[in-house]
């Protein structure tokens, strides 16, 4: 069985390719989860936990029919972050999530990826007007949510962490 058998479409944007998580992403994923920066998205995690996270991202697609895409630039295999839809016990509803690594920050890549993931999910998955959970300390992520047109809706919590719930506009409203 290979990733080709997975129900994971490839999305293309101007600069980015959103594709299935794969084993060769593991070193960068592990390095990311070793940093404090990962705290806003469930880290820090050990190497073992990073592997399990990679495996569970793939399984999420199989269980739900949607999940996280890993992001790379066109023509460059290096994994720069992720965007996509998460839903697990404890989530109030499916969530648009995104993260970019240090070296990809400040270039609008998270915005580009999150918008592509959101558009695909609205058009093809029936997931329109989704939420995003934003850690209160994650100012960059909050700004990105606002740039995407999402609005603060309520206080919430996910995976035991308090967070802000932002609501994205429906496709027709954009």
């Amino acid at each position: 069985m290979t990733a080709c058998d997975l129900p994971i479409p490839v999305l293309e944007t101007e600069r980015l390719r959103l594709r299935a998580p794969k084993l060769s992403d593991l070193p960068r994923l592990t390095a990311f989860y070793a940093t404090e920066r990962s705290r806003a998205v469930g880290g820090p995690r050990t190497a073992m936990e990073s592997y399990n996270s990679l495996a569970s991202r793939i399984g999420h697609w199989v269980l739900r029919g949607y999940g996280l895409w890993h992001i790379q630039r066109h023509g460059d295999d290096a994994f720069l972050g992720w965007a996509g839809i998460l839903d697990a016990p404890g989530w109030q509803e499916p969530e648009l999530a995104w993260t970019v690594m240090d070296e990809a920050e400040g270039q609008g890549l998270a915005f580009e990826a999150a918008r592509a993931a959101r558009d695909h999910s609205a058009r093809h998955l029936g997931l329109d007007g989704v939420i995003s959970y934003i850690a209160p300390s994650n100012i960059r992520s909050r700004k990105l949510a606002e740039r995407l047109g999402a609005q603060y809706e309520s206080e919430g919590s996910v995976a035991g962490h308090p967070c802000h719930v932002y609501r994205h506009p429906k496709t027709k409203a954009r």
């Binding site: 069985m1 290979t2 990733a3 058998d5 997975l6 129900p7 084993l23 050990t46 190497a47 073992m48 592997y51 399990n52 996270s53 990679l54 495996a55 569970s56 991202r57 793939i58 399984g59 999420h60 199989v62 269980l63 739900r64 697990a88 016990p89 404890g90 995976a159």
Partner: protein, 180 residues
């Protein structure tokens, strides 16, 4: 969708895990019995683990099946070749959900899984890891002909006893057809 093979034994169907298995999986991992296999887990952690089991199939080409009772279609456990990160080598793993112990189901499914590992995956050897005090699981290992050969300490699961299964050549009727 990933194509996970199905195996059949006299009483059991071994098939790929699905979303519909989650309640039974999470109930087991919420119970004290799961302390022998890394639990108890919150519902969220159990969800991640079920997803991980499927990702394991994709990343490694094998993994644990949901074991279903043929008569009722109920999921009764997760059994199969398994080598999550940090394992010393690939094992035949078994979790039997609450209420389904003592009927020989783990042995029946693990035999089929071991035959699959030897005959289809080409494994030349296999272990099973058993936490100290998990006497029922140790009894399954012994029933399968496995012998204890020392301990292994895992980052999250702690100390586990390593049971070594008979090699493919040591099994008289080791073919998968013997259990199909």
């Amino acid at each position: 969708m990933p194509v996970i093979p199905k195996l059949e034994t006299e009483r059991l169907l071994l098939r790929g895990p699905t979303t519909g298995d989650f309640d039974a999986f999470a109930a087991f991992y919420a119970s004290d019995r799961s302390a022998f296999v890394g639990g108890p887990l919150t519902a969220e952690a159990a969800w991640r683990m079920l997803a991980m089991e499927i990702g394991h199939w994709v990343l490694k080409g094998y993994g644990r099946w949901t074991v279903e009772l043929k008569t009722t279609g109920e999921p009764i456990g997760m059994i199969g070749p398994f080598c999550p990160e940090g394992w010393p080598e690939p094992e035949i793993g078994w979790d039997l959900y609450n209420g389904f112990e003592g009927k020989g189901y783990a042995t029946e499914a693990a035999l089929a899984a071991r035959s699959y590992a030897y005959d289809v995956l080409g494994w030349q050897t296999a272990i099973s890891l058993v936490k100290p005090g998990n006497d029922k699981s140790a009894a399954v290992a012994v029933r399968l002909g496995a012998k204890p050969e020392g301990d292994f300490v895992h980052e999250r699961h702690g100390r586990m006893r390593v049971y070594r299964h008979p090699a493919p050549g040591d099994l008289a009727d080791g073919g998968i057809e013997a259990y199909a």
